[in-house]
C-alpha cells in the first residue's frame, strides 16, 4: 500500500515539473499559436546557461538563475523578433519546420560545445534533503519546490494575462490578430514580449529540471513531448489546465513505473493517447476555440 501511495505522491511532484516544462509551451500556443518544436531543446539550452553561469560566477544555481532570467528574456525576444516573426502567416509549415531546424541546430550546437556528457546543477545539501511524512514515505525538498514553483508560476501567468494591459493585449491578439492591430497593438512586438516571457518560464523550468536529474544535449525532444502532452491533456487555453495535465502525466508515469520500471515513459504516452481518444479537447478546455 505504501508503495502505491508513494507512487501517487511522486507522480504529483513529477507533475509539477511537467507543468513547469509545459507552461512556456502553453504560453506560446496561447498567444502566438506557435507550436515550437524546439521547446525541449530550449529548456536544455537554458539549463546549460544556468550551469555555465553558476560555474563561471561561482554561484549557486538558485542565484545563477536570477542572472540567467534577464539574459534569456532578451534571447527569446530577439529570437521572435528576428526569426520567428518571419514565419507568421496562415501557412502551417514555416513555423513548424523553422523550429524543427532550430531544434537540430541547438541540440548539435550544445553537443559541440559541451559534448554528450551528463550534467547536473549542483546546489549542495538541498539536493538530497527530504521531508518525512511518516509511514516510510518522504517528499524530496527539490521536487516539492518544483511543484510549488509550478503553482506560483501559473498564478503569476494568470495574473499577467487577466489583470494587466499587456495580458489584455496578449488575449486580444490571440483572438483576432487583425482587429488587435486596429487597437494599436503592434503584434510583432507583442509576440516578441510573449516569447521573452516564455523564455523566462523556460529558464525556471530548466533550473528544476537540472536540479532534479541529469541532463545532456540530447534530452530535448523527450521534454518537448512531455510538455506537449501536458498541455493537450489539460486542455488548450488554460494555464491551470496545463498544471492538471502535467499532474495527470506525472501520475501516469509513476504508476506505470510502479507496475514495471521499463514502462514509465510508455505509460505516460498511452495515457496521453487515451485522453486524446476519450476527451480530445482535454480536461479543462477553454470555452471558445
Amino acid at each position: 500500500m505504501t508503495g502505491w501511495l508513494d507512487a501517487l505522491i511522486q507522480g504529483v511532484l513529477l507533475g509539477g515539473l511537467y507543468a513547469l516544462l509545459a507552461a512556456g509551451l502553453s504560453l506560446m500556443f496561447g498567444v502566438m499559436r506557435l507550436v515550437n518544436l524546439a521547446h525541449g531543446d530550449l529548456i536544455v539550452l537554458a539549463a546549460f546557461a544556468i550551469l555555465v553561469l553558476a560555474g563561471k560566477l561561482g554561484l549557486d544555481p538558485f542565484v545563477a538563475v536570477l542572472v540567467a532570467l534577464p539574459i534569456l528574456f532578451v534571447v527569446g525576444f530577439a529570437l521572435q523578433h528576428v526569426l520567428l516573426n518571419r514565419t507568421l502567416g496562415r501557412d502551417l509549415l514555416p513555423p513548424l519546420l523553422v523550429t524543427f531546424g532550430l531544434s537540430i541546430i541547438i541540440e548539435n550546437g550544445l553537443l559541440q560545445l559541451f559534448s554528450a556528457d551528463s550534467q547536473r546543477l549542483r546546489s549542495g545539501a538541498i539536493e538530497t534533503a527530504s521531508i518525512p511524512l511518516g509511514g516510510g514515505i518522504a517528499v524530496g525538498v527539490v521536487p516539492l519546490l518544483t511543484l510549488l514553483s509550478a503553482i506560483s508560476m501559473i498564478v503569476l501567468l494568470n495574473l499577467i494575462f487577466y489583470r494587466t494591459p499587456i495580458g489584455r493585449a496578449f488575449r486580444a491578439t490571440s483572438d483576432d490578430l487583425e482587429v488587435a492591430q486596429l487597437m494599436g497593438v503592434d503584434h510583432r512586438r507583442i509576440f516578441a514580449v510573449a516569447m521573452g516571457l516564455a523564455f523566462v518560464v523556460i529558464t525556471i523550468a530548466a533550473l528544476y529540471l537540472g536540479l532534479r536529474a541529469n541532463f545532456d544535449p540530447t534530452i530535448g525532444p523527450a521534454r518537448l513531448l512531455y510538455a506537449f502532452e501536458a498541455v493537450i491533456i489539460g486542455g488548450l487555453g488554460s494555464f491551470w489546465g496545463t498544471l492538471a495535465g502535467g499532474i495527470v502525466l506525472g501520475l501516469a508515469q509513476t504508476i506505470g513505473a510502479r507496475i514495471d520500471p521499463e514502462w514509465q515513459i510508455l505509460a505516460g504516452h498511452l495515457a496521453f493517447l487515451a485522453v486524446l481518444v476519450i476527451r480530445p479537447r482535454g480536461l479543462f478546455p477553454r470555452a471558445q476555440d
Partner: protein, 354 residues
C-alpha cells in the same frame, strides 16, 4: 437575330501532358533501363550508395504526398519505417518467410497498424497533429523495445539463414560473378529501385486521379475545397494509410539490407524524418520533381559532409531554415515557376478545339 447559331460548335478537352513531359517520359524510361543494368558495371560501394538514394527518395515522395498535398505535416513517419523493419525481422526470423515476400506483407500490415493510429492521431489538427505523430512514433519505439524475441532494447540481427534465403542470390552470383554479400546487395538494389519507381508511379497515379484533383484542392485552399464537397477527412485518412503502407515497405527493405535493427535506430527522428523533410524542402514541396532534386543534393551532401558530425547537422538545420524563409518553394519550385516546366504533369489544362 440569334448569333450563337452561326458559330461552329466548340469542344473541350482536358489535357495533362505537355511537350516537355513527353520528352521526360522517354528520358525516364531510358534512365530506368540504365539503372536496372547498373549492377553489371558498378562497384559495390556505388550500389550501396544508390540503395540509400533510392529509399530516401521514396520516403521523400511519401512525405511530400502527405504534407505537400494532403496537408498532413507528420514528424512521425519513422513510426512506419521502424514498423516495417521490425515486421520484416519478425516475418523472416520468427515466421520463416522469404524476405522478398516479407516486404510487401510488411506494407500491408503497416497499413493495418495505420488504421487505428490514424483514428487517434487525426483528433489533432495542424501543428498539434505533427507532434502527435511524433508521440505515436515514440509509442511504437518503446513498444518494440519491449518485444524480447526481437531483441528488446538492444535489437537483433538477421541470421545467415535468413540473409541467404533472399531469392535470386544464386542466380546473381553466377551471372555477375560476385560473392554472396555483394549478390544480396544487388538484389536489395533492384528491390530498392522497384520500390522507388513504384512509389513514384503510385504517387503520380494518385495525383492524376480524381482523388489527386481533390488533394490539389486541399493543398491550395482547404476551406474552399470542403465547400465544394471534398471529404477532407476521408481523403486524408486514405492518404495516411497508403503512405504508411509504402513507408512500411521501404522500412522493410532498409532493414533487410542493413540486416541489423534496434529500436533507437529504426525509429530515429533524424534519419527518417529530419533528413526526409530536408530533402523535400530543398527540392521543392508540393511537386513531384522537387524530392528527386532534393534527394540527389542530400545524397551528395551526406557523402561528402557527413564526417563533420555535429557541424554537418547544424549546416542542415541552417540551410533548412534559410530555404524555408527565403525560398519556400525549394529549388525546383523556383525553377519551375520561372520557366514553366513540369516533368511529371499532374495539372489539368482545359484545351478548346474549334
Amino acid at each position: 437575330m440569334d448569333e450563337t447559331a452561326s458559330r461552329p460548335a466548340q469542344t473541350f478537352r482536358i489535357k495533362t501532358a505537355g511537350r516537355t513531359s513527353h520528352v521526360a517520359v522517354v528520358a525516364a524510361i531510358a534512365i530506368l533501363l540504365v539503372l536496372t543494368l547498373l549492377p553489371v558495371f558498378a562497384s559495390r560501394t556505388l550500389i550501396q550508395d544508390m540503395i540509400f538514394l533510392f529509399y530516401m527518395l521514396a520516403l521523400a515522395q511519401c512525405w511530400n504526398l502527405l504534407a505537400g498535398y494532403a496537408g498532413l505535416i507528420s514528424v512521425g513517419q519513422q513510426a512506419f519505417v521502424g514498423l516495417g523493419g521490425y515486421l520484416l525481422f519478425a516475418l523472416t526470423l520468427v515466421g520463416g518467410l522469404n524476405p522478398l515476400l516479407a516486404i510487401p506483407i510488411a506494407g500491408v500490415i503497416a497499413a493495418l497498424f495505420a488504421l487505428p493510429t490514424a483514428l487517434v492521431v487525426f483528433r489533432l489538427r495542424g501543428a498539434y497533429f505533427a507532434i502527435g505523430t511524433w508521440v505515436v512514433a515514440e509509442v511504437y519505439r518503446l513498444g518494440f523495445a519491449q518485444v524480447k524475441p526481437l531483441g528488446g532494447g538492444t535489437g537483433t540481427s538477421l541470421t545467415p539463414a535468413v540473409t541467404s534465403s533472399v531469392s535470386g542470390i544464386e542466380w546473381v552470383r553466377m551471372l555477375l560473378d560476385v560473392r554472396t554479400p555483394a549478390a544480396r546487395d544487388i538484389i536489395s538494389y533492384w528491390v530498392a529501385l522497384a520500390l522507388m519507381a513504384g512509389t513514384l508511379a503510385a504517387v503520380y497515379l494518385i495525383l492524376r486521379s480524381r482523388r489527386g484533383l481533390a488533394l490539389g484542392a486541399i493543398r491550395d485552399h482547404e476551406t474552399a475545397a470542403a465547400s465544394v464537397g471534398v471529404d477532407i477527412y476521408r481523403i486524408r485518412f486514405a492518404v495516411y494509410v497508403a503512405t504508411a503502407a509504402m513507408t512500411g515497405m521501404i522500412g522493410a527493405l532498409v532493414y533487410l539490407q542493413k540486416a541489423r535493427i534496434s529500436p533507437d535506430a529504426a525509429f530515429a527522428v533524424l534519419d527518417w524524418t529530419a533528413y526526409v523533410i530536408f530533402i523535400v524542402i530543398i527540392g521543392g514541396i508540393g511537386t513531384m520533381e522537387g524530392p528527386v532534386i532534393g534527394a540527389i543534393i542530400f545524397y551528395l551532401m551526406q557523402r561528402y559532409l557527413a564526417d563533420f558530425g555535429a557541424w554537418y547537422l547544424i549546416l542542415l538545420g541552417v540551410l533548412g531554415i534559410l530555404v524555408m524563409l527565403f525560398a519556400p518553394r525549394g529549388l525546383w519550385g523556383h525553377v519551375a515557376e520561372r520557366y514553366g516546366l513540369t516533368l511529371f504533369p499532374t495539372r489539368r489544362r482545359l484545351v478548346v478545339d474549334g
